[in-house]
């Protein structure tokens, strides 16, 4: 294939940005497409024809396909845009908790979204900072390296030990809770303080924690501090007992995936470990974009070495030499923490050609997402890593057979992986003794909305919803409904608070643990607005590949709009039937979990009468 490129030439700044990522690579490297686009966005603020052509030339990607990729992701722009953009969360965890007010204030200060060409703002789906609503994510493009820029000492410090020190490019930051003043100042280049994970983890320092035990205790930037807290004992033990034993322990522990699908981790690991293929991969899914979810972010920001160690245990156990960590594009602090931890671990022989002197090879590559909820779906994530549109693949074949780059691949959620450390330390049976049935170990929950102490909480599986709420300051007064499991989950009501938080217990009441979202609403809530936001979310985030989801999410949103506006076609019963029909085809016939759950929350809200009367 000969590349036919547009005649537009790239500017020096665009070339520099791309070269900074691609380096001297000359073979086709489609997998560097997202890193290259990120570099252009960070350096220049948008992807011009010239920039896209240059990326295509360097990576040998046909321009139409590269354009298809660039336009798939919300954080990329192929039209000129202000170099500094504030993404203001108006999703369900923020909207009623300052998000809509902030949007109004931003409009007053900066005009409509996209109006100004120096600094601007836009609305955003959940930014994973719901415990500190309202949330804002900033893209600040700049051609000079952050370390050379004035007035940004924090960015300098944060990037000090990052491997990309001297690349041109802007920075990214999160502000939560955000005020219009803080956002406008930050857009003007003012320093943004880094996160304080302890604020997000009210239990920090408590004695009975496992996954959160080091939060607020270790310095996330310091390997010695991690080691002093028992870090790397797990990997040492794993190397001593051997891979087969590690896989067995995970199976015996009955660890299930914490990313939402609750698949048995041991089954995946055993399949990949047992595959005769010479090349295998481990992928850590850190794309956390389920509205209301922020647990993985807190783990990465506060205890990044734990994830790096856990990935190393997992990678070696299944026979992978490379692990990819795909971190959500809107998580700059987590990304920096992880990048730094990976660099430190490498420097000290915990990653690389001879992990802890064992002769085993394992290293980690960190890749940034670019604004697409669907890229959390495992096969979409793999396509994204390969430099393709984040469209889910047909299964079978499953990733354990043909995953990343067509190779057997284990993909696990951040929280799933961090559990592995405890399992190798204590053994599978000890882990399995906590909880019941398929639901073993402890679980992280993301509490937000009308709770007194929002944040990430760790409890043993089987804890009731009521007990969980007690930890966060008590069952909220006037509680009306809880969104359990995220936008892909469903609403439960105050009379269901005694449900044990297990896979089985939630299923019994027609709900799901999902990604651990517990988003609380009181009776002053405008549920019509909440439902419309959820419907709008799925309409925005559908990849567009399959008809039930691509068109179904649009029709669902339209029907809801009619219902909440009292403009039903043929009456409410007819509209509810229409919604049920759309729901069924999305649930039954969509390719992936996005479409299959896109009607779940709406269905449960209608059934509970959160808008209008109960329907079942």
């Amino acid at each position: 294939m000969d590349l036919v490129l547009l005649p537009d030439a790239a500017t020096d700044a665009e070339r520099a940005a791309v070269d900074g990522v691609v380096g001297t690579v000359s073979e086709p490297r489609r997998d560097l497409l997202l890193p290259a686009f990120h570099a252009v966005m960070d350096g220049v603020g948008w992807i011009s024809r010239g920039a896209l052509s240059y990326v295509c030339e360097r990576l040998h990607v046909p321009p139409a396909e590269a354009y298809g990729v660039a336009t798939f992701y919300a954080l990329f722009s192929v039209t000129p845009r202000a170099p500094r953009v504030a993404h203001v969360c108006d999703d369900v965890g923020c909207a009623a908790f300052g998000g809509e007010d902030l949007c109004a204030a931003m409009e007053e200060r900066l005009g409509a979204p996209g109006e100004r060409d120096d600094v601007t703002w836009t609305r955003s789906p959940c930014l994973g900072l719901c415990e500190r609503a309202p949330a804002v994510f900033l893209q600040r493009a700049s051609a000079s390296p952050p370390s050379e820029r004035e007035g940004n000492p924090d960015a300098t410090r944060a990037l000090e030990s990052s491997p990309h020190d001297d690349e041109p490019g802007g920075d990214h930051a999160q502000i939560a809770p955000a005020t219009a003043d803080a956002v406008v100042h930050a857009l003007d280049g003012e320093d943004v303080p880094g996160p304080d994970p302890v604020v997000s983890t009210p239990q920090a320092g408590a004695p009975d924690l496992e996954l959160l035990s080091r939060v607020g205790v270790v310095d996330p930037a310091d390997l010695d501090s991690y080691r002093a807290a028992g870090g790397y004992a797990g990997l040492r033990r794993a190397l001593a007992v051997g891979s087969a034993r590690v896989v067995d322990e995970i199976t015996v522990a009955s660890l299930t995936g914490r990313g939402g699908a609750a698949f048995p981790t041991g089954t995946k690991w055993a399949a990949v470990a047992g595959s005769p293929e010479p090349e295998k991969y481990l992928v850590c899914n850190a794309d956390e974009s389920e509205p209301g979810t922020f647990k993985d972010r807190v783990l990465m920001e506060a205890d990044p070495f734990a994830l790096v160690e856990a990935m190393t245990v997992a990678g070696i156990a299944v026979g992978a030499r490379t692990g990819y960590l795909y971190v959500r594009g809107e998580y700059p602090a987590a990304e920096r923490a992880i990048e730094r931890a990976v660099a430190e671990a490498r420097r000290h022989g915990y990653l690389g050609d001879d992990v802890m002197g064992s002769g085993r090879v394992f290293d980690i590559e960190v890749r940034r997402g670019a604004g697409a909820y669907i890229c959390g779906e495992e096969t979409a994530l793999m396509n994204s890593l390969e430099g393709r549109r984040g469209e889910p693949r047909a299964k079978p074949p499953f990733p354990t057979v043909a995953g990343l780059f067509g190779r057997p691949t284990v993909i696990n959620n951040v929280e799933t992986l961090v559990n592995v450390l405890r399992i190798v330390a204590e053994g599978g049976p000890a882990f399995a003794s906590v909880g019941s049935g398929r639901s073993t170990g402890t679980k992280l929950f993301c509490l937000s909305g009308v709770v007194s102490r929002p944040g990430v909480y760790e409890v043993p599986m089987g804890t009731t919803l009521r007990e969980l709420l007690e930890l966060a300051g008590g069952v909220p007064a006037d509680l009306r409904a809880i969104l359990l499991g995220g936008a892909a989950g469903s609403f439960v009501t105050p009379d269901q608070l005694d449900v044990p938080l297990t896979l089985e217990g939630t299923r019994e009441i027609g709900a799901t643990l999902g990604s651990g979202v517990v988003l609380c609403f009181d009776s002053s809530t405008d549920f019509a607005a909440v439902l419309r936001r959820i419907a709008g979310f799925f309409r925005d985030e559908s990849c567009g590949q399959c008809v039930p989801c691509r068109v179904g999410t649009v029709r669902q949103e339209e029907a809801l709009a009619r219902i909440v506006r009292g403009r039903e076609i043929g009456g409410r019963t007819v509209e509810l039937q229409l919604l049920r029909d759309v729901d069924r085809v999305m649930t039954d016939a969509s390719i992936c979990g996005l479409g299959q759950t896109a009607a779940s929350a709406v269905r449960s809200a209608l059934a509970l009468g959160l808008i209008g009367e109960e329907t079942s």
């Binding site: 590349l3 139409a64 336009t71 649009v554 949103e557 709009a561 016939a589």
Partner: protein
């Protein structure tokens, strides 16, 4: 592209469809089994000469052990598989796919099969309200992923937009485009290896596009027309056909088809000349032809002008 390797003898596996057992070669798709049994299984994104993308979902069936329905076009049979096509769930999903597509797209040139399925399955696109206004030229391609304007539900969103005419050989009428990926596949790895077009944008706002939606003459397009050859809805068609349809002189009933061998080079592609009113209006090649698999080059597809210079 599915190339059936006749050199190897394939094991037979046993599959039950609606309580009837079938012995079929391993590697066959469920759709192969259904077709052999004479079932009328609807399909839109499937084509015998393209890799299945299973995007449209109109061919779904129930497979025992799978909670979601399964696309019959792509799923390969396994020994002991139990398939059902005669259930209410299957009928519902097929109907809804047809209905949702018809609610967003102009399917009036999608052929007799699609029209028949619409009726058989009872698709009722009008229940989503009246269609919204068509988009201005180029507008749909400029929507930003992850953002859309809040609908009020008074009208239903569609993909209606003006026809793109930017070259002498074919037009792109994307109001008809159902995003079946066939043209992208034919332009890419399944036939032409040109990659002039791809899916751009996301979700309902996704489009088939060149880079930055530049006109075809500025893109990598070589005018092989294989995209036209695979388009199931009339979104891509020759200028000759487009002009006749616009003028009201398009006459598929009066069309005759003559087979011949392309004389431009030594490959020997079989051509089917579609003639209306004594004029060649389209050139195709049979998809089961061992050389072309239905795909041609610019000369075979469009080089017929000299035949009819009168």
């Amino acid at each position: 592209m599915t190339v059936v390797d006749l050199g190897t003898i394939r094991r037979l596996v046993s599959v039950t469809v609606d309580d009837v057992e079938h012995r079929v070669p391993e590697g066959a798709t469920i759709m192969d089994v259904l077709d052999d049994a004479g079932a009328d299984t609807p399909r839109l994104c499937q084509a015998p000469n393209l890799t299945p993308v299973n995007a449209c979902r109109v061919c779904v069936v129930e497979v025992e052990g799978s909670r979601p329905l399964v696309p019959s076009c792509a799923r390969r049979v396994e020994d002991g598989m139990v398939v059902r096509t005669d259930t209410e769930r299957v009928a519902h999903s097929r109907k809804m796919v047809l209905e949702l597509l018809a609610s967003a797209n102009d399917l009036s040139e999608a052929g007799d099969d699609v029209a028949r399925w619409q009726i058989e399955y009872g698709a009722d696109p009008e229940r989503y309200g009246p269609p919204g206004p068509p988009a201005a030229a180029g507008e749909r391609g400029n929507r930003h992923a992850g953002h859309h304007s809040l609908p009020d539900g008074e009208t239903r969103a569609t993909v209606a937009q003006p026809v793109t005419v930017d070259n002498d050989l074919y037009v792109r009428d994307y109001a008809r485009c159902i995003l079946c990926y066939k043209c992208v596949e034919a332009c890419g790895t399944d036939a032409q290896n040109t990659f002039a077009i791809a899916v751009a944008g996301r979700g309902f706002d996704a489009t088939i596009s060149t880079e930055f939606a530049v006109p075809l003459p500025d893109s990598a397009c070589v005018y092989c027309g294989n995209c036209i050859g695979v388009c199931p809805t009339g979104a891509l068609k020759s200028v000759a056909e487009h002009e006749r349809r616009e003028a009201g002189t398009w006459d598929p009933e009066g069309e005759t088809v003559t087979s011949t061998i392309c004389s431009f080079c030594g490959v020997g592609c079989t051509l089917e000349l579609h003639v209306q009113d004594n004029t060649i209006v389209n050139v195709t090649s049979p998809h089961d032809h061992s050389v072309t698999h239905g795909h041609l080059c610019i000369k075979g597809r469009f080089g017929f002008q000299h035949v009819q210079n009168r």
